[in-house]
């Protein structure tokens, strides 16, 4: 019997003409691992929320949802709480209490579970998730990854039959995300819990899913096994193809006849077989960019000279003798692990953090010399990590208009231009908080661009962005670059940096270890590199992006 059965579900949000979900039919068997993907704003969250009665949004709804053969509405609050677990996006807000142990026990307390049972279950979960080490800690001391793991554990403690996860890793760095998704996989395998998950980052969950469902404008566009889904999307020229993992994209790019690989391991094997009986004549794309120094002959815009910084007098140093020189008109990407000081480096460039030693020069002038907001007037602007921190008005339109009022008339960029650049035309009358994560990111970007910056600082701009918009985002950055904007970006998104950056630097332990063009940077690394490079490095010497691998394959035909 199907675990979940959705029959012809159509849903309208109040006051909207377009349905958020349209004739959705879906059946989920017990113990299945289902991935739901789609562009941001396509109705993924709306669909997931319908699967848990208490979270269903208000609006006009037709169609039916069955859980274990019974209509979902007939389940009482307690049954729903126990049987259907729901993990949300935001690591902070979904945690209720102030202590880790209390959060774990919260659900059981609500059910009125007896003390003895509660202790056993909490102990079990803490051990299963490896939480013992931080069991007594305050929630505020935890990292984002730990918080999400805690949220998951505090739901698993109620022993649900279904686990629904709504983009659980969108706020996490890749390592924490992989760790989290690994745990979800373990739960699915070891406990047989049904998993329904939405994600932007498909690399980690694509190979383990039983079925992938692609949503497009509230409709199910595809519902297939992961190996087949690429073919389907490719055939339909669906935008979602850009979100497929690298091996899948490369496979379809080369029009191979073999079996579709889903992981890097399978991809390597596939590539060897694909090219196996031929002699490899072209091993490397002779990239035309010359030595690094020549390319960056432009004026220096931002310069940091041996900058040292710490947050408090007795705290450890965050920046340790950091020196960078960033020249005009380029996309300068900084990659590196969590807590190495990348974001702090950005903050020193826009004068939020003041170093206790060393110099920060903006266009050759000491940063301290810029007075009274001069620094941020048509000069530097920063897009913060959390787009919500930029929202102060009731609609997206007002947000944009707010930026216009103070500055002068002859600005280089108009509201209309920004709206079309960021693709937020349809969102103008919405409240910023009603938007999905990716849409919020775009709105924040639009707001920031309205200051007509010359130096744009981006802190994790691709976080929570779907791959489809990433391509548009990259085009946008290119346009800005052509207009003479220098972009400095801190990111975990290796694939994005490899494809679009002019320069990639590895940040580690408070300073930059190495800085080079993406091609050289990634082809020299063996671990910290793109999936395409990891997949092809045994055959090609400097293929970094999916396109590189596809081209090399074709050249060797």
């Amino acid at each position: 019997m199907a675990h979940f059965e959705i029959k012809d579900l159509t849903f309208y949000y109040p006051g909207r003409e377009n349905p958020a979900l349209e004739h959705v039919n879906l059946s989920v068997a017990k113990g299945e691992y289902i991935t739901i993907c789609g562009k941001s704003g396509c109705g993924k969250t709306t669909l997931l929320r319908h699967l848990k009665g208490v979270l269903s949004p208000h609006g006009r709804k037709t169609g039916e949802i069955f859980f274990d053969g019974k209509p979902l509405e007939d389940m009482n609050l307690k049954e729903q709480a126990v049987k259907i677990g729901y993990v949300m996006q935001d690591p902070d807000d979904q945690i209720v209490t102030d202590k880790v142990w209390h959060e774990l026990a919260f659900g059981l307390e609500n059910l009125g579970t007896h003390q003895r049972t509660m202790r056993l279950r909490v102990a079990e979960m803490a051990s299963y998730f490896g939480i013992q080490g931080w069991f007594h800690k305050d929630v505020k001391e935890l990292s984002g990854g730990q918080k999400q793991l805690l949220s998951l554990a505090s739901i698993m403690v109620m022993q649900p039959e279904v686990l629904i996860l709504d983009e659980p890793t969108s706020q996490l760095d890749p390592i924490a995300a992989a760790d989290f998704l690994g745990t979800v996989r373990k739960i699915n395998l070891e406990l047989g819990t049904t998993v329904i998950i939405t994600e932007h980052r498909l690399e980690d969950i694509f190979p383990v899913s039983d079925r992938v469902i692609v949503l497009d404008k509230g409709r199910i566009a595809a519902d297939e096994r992961p190996e087949k889904i690429g073919e389907l999307l490719r055939g339909e020229h669906n935008d979602m193809f850009a979100a497929m993992p690298s091996p899948v994209q490369i496979y379809y790019g080369t029009k191979s006849q073999l079996k579709c690989p889903l992981t890097v391991r399978d991809g390597r094997k596939w590539l060897s077989e694909e090219l196996g009986n031929r002699k490899i004549s072209v091993k490397s794309l002779e990239k035309k960019d010359g030595p690094y120094e020549e390319k960056n002959a432009g004026n220096t815009v931002v310069q940091l000279k041996e900058v040292w910084f710490r947050y408090e007098k007795n705290s450890p140093d965050i920046l340790k003798g950091l020196s960078i020189e960033i020249t005009e008109n380029q996309l300068f990407a900084i990659v590196g692990g969590n807590g190495t000081g990348k974001s702090t480096a950005l903050k020193t460039i826009c004068n939020i953090c003041r170093p206790y030693r060393g110099k920060v020069l903006i266009r050759g002038r000491r940063i301290e010399k810029y007075k009274n907001g001069e620094l941020f007037k048509n000069n530097i602007v920063m897009l913060p990590q959390d787009p919500k921190s930029l929202f102060v008005k009731k609609t997206v339109k007002e947000e944009l208009e707010e930026m216009e009022t103070d500055s002068d008339e002859n600005r280089g960029i108009s509201i209309e231009r920004v709206i079309s650049l960021c693709g937020i035309k349809d969102l103008l009358n919405h409240h910023p908080y009603d938007l999905s994560g990716g849409e919020q990111q775009r709105t924040a970007l639009a707001k920031v661009l309205l200051t007509d910056p010359k130096i744009l600082l981006l802190d994790e701009p691709t976080k929570g962005m779907d791959n489809f918009f990433k391509i548009k985002f990259a085009e946008l950055l290119n346009e800005l670059k052509e207009e003479g904007v220098t972009i400095i970006m801190v990111s975990h998104d290796i694939e994005f940096c490899a494809k679009y950056a002019d320069n990639v630097s590895l940040f580690f332990d408070g300073s930059i270890i190495t800085s080079d063009t993406p091609d050289r940077f990634f082809s020299h690394n063996s671990f910290y590199t793109t999936a395409a490079n990891r997949m092809s490095r045994h055959i090609f010497s400097d293929a970094v992006t999916n396109e590189d691998v596809i081209r090399l394959c074709q050249m060797n035909r």
Binding site: K52, V54, L55, N76, L77, K78, A81, V82, G85, Y86, M88, D90, D92, D93, Q94, I95, V96, T97, D98, K99, W101, H102, A105, F106, G107, L108, E109, N110, L111, G112, T113, Q115, M118, R119, H136, V139, K140, S151, S154, M158, K347, C350, I352, K371, N372, G373, F376, K377, I380, V381, M382, P384, K388, S389, L390, F391, V392, D406, V448, T451
Partner: protein, 274 residues
């Protein structure tokens, strides 16, 4: 309890014992605290006669005959000592009673209030963090109001606060969803605790109850009776019941210090056996 007994001997006892426990709990910080409390003691003692002129023994007069009496001064010292004890006990309380322990005690009596409390404890640091984030974000988009007129800066401040309110309310909605989805409100709550009530706790409670009642009975019989104004009367501790009362009181206040000392001694012994 030490707060309401103003018998000088009882007061001396409670000052010494609260100081000793505070020293065990707070360590060297206590010295600073104690030094800070000395002027407080003197201020309270010396000021009391200014407001209270009752008394027989007049030390001097001022302001055209307003008397400054010895009895009122004594009374002031008693109040001062009482005040110091309260401060010292609170310093200990702050250190010893963490939010977990508070929750353990009160979650059984008033479950909903204690849940609100733990949520508030979680929200406050979140608010200040968000406020700074919004402020920085505004600054980095050239909206900080730096170098502008006061009215504009004020308006900017209001904008930040209202943005914080919106953000927090939004967060509140998510938190509420998260609570609902984990079954909040579907019946009577129970509460989880990390502590358990062991035999030694039972023994301690009984022991403390016995001491308390001994003190109460002896106070009722007049052991701690004391009148400062208009004429000083201090009951002597020669009778049996008052001696018992005094003794029980001392032991009662010595319990926390004693427990700690005993533990330290035990560790010493265990260590020396290795």
């Amino acid at each position: 309890m030490g707060m309401f007994l103003i018998h000088p001997l009882f007061l001396v006892c409670s000052v010494i014992l609260s100081l000793s426990y505070c020293f065990i709990v707070n360590g060297k910080k206590t010295i600073k605290l104690a030094i800070g409390l000395i002027p407080v003691f003197f201020a309270v003692s010396l000021l009391n006669p200014v407001f209270n002129t009752d008394g027989v023994k007049i030390l001097f007069t001022y302001f055209a005959g307003r008397p400054y009496t010895w009895e009122a001064l004594c009374y002031g010292m008693a109040i001062g000592a009482m005040f110091i004890t309260i401060m010292l006990w609170f310093a200990c309380y702050n250190k010893v009673m963490t939010s977990d322990k508070f929750m353990y005690i009160f979650s059984h009596m008033i479950p909903s209030v204690s849940l609100v409390l733990t949520m508030v404890l979680r929200l406050i640091p979140g608010y200040s963090r968000r406020l700074m984030q919004i402020y920085w974000a505004r600054r980095c988009t050239g909206k900080s109001g730096e170098g502008m007129y006061m009215s504009k800066r004020l308006r900017e401040g209001m904008t930040i606060v209202s943005a914080l309110a919106t953000w927090s309310l939004e967060g509140g909605v998510i938190t509420a969803d998260s609570m609902k989805s984990r079954g909040y409100g579907c019946g009577r709550r129970s509460s989880f605790s990390n502590y358990s009530f062991e035999v030694r706790d039972k023994i301690m409670v009984i022991f403390m109850a016995v001491l308390m009642s001994a003190v109460a009975v002896s106070c009722w019989l007049g052991a701690a009776d004391v009148v400062y104004t208009p004429d000083i009367f201090i009951s002597s501790l020669s009778s049996f019941e008052s001696a018992v009362g005094m003794g029980s009181y001392c032991i009662f206040l010595f319990i926390p210090t004693g427990v700690n000392i005993m533990e330290a001694v035990k560790w010493r012994i265990l260590k020396s056996k290795i």
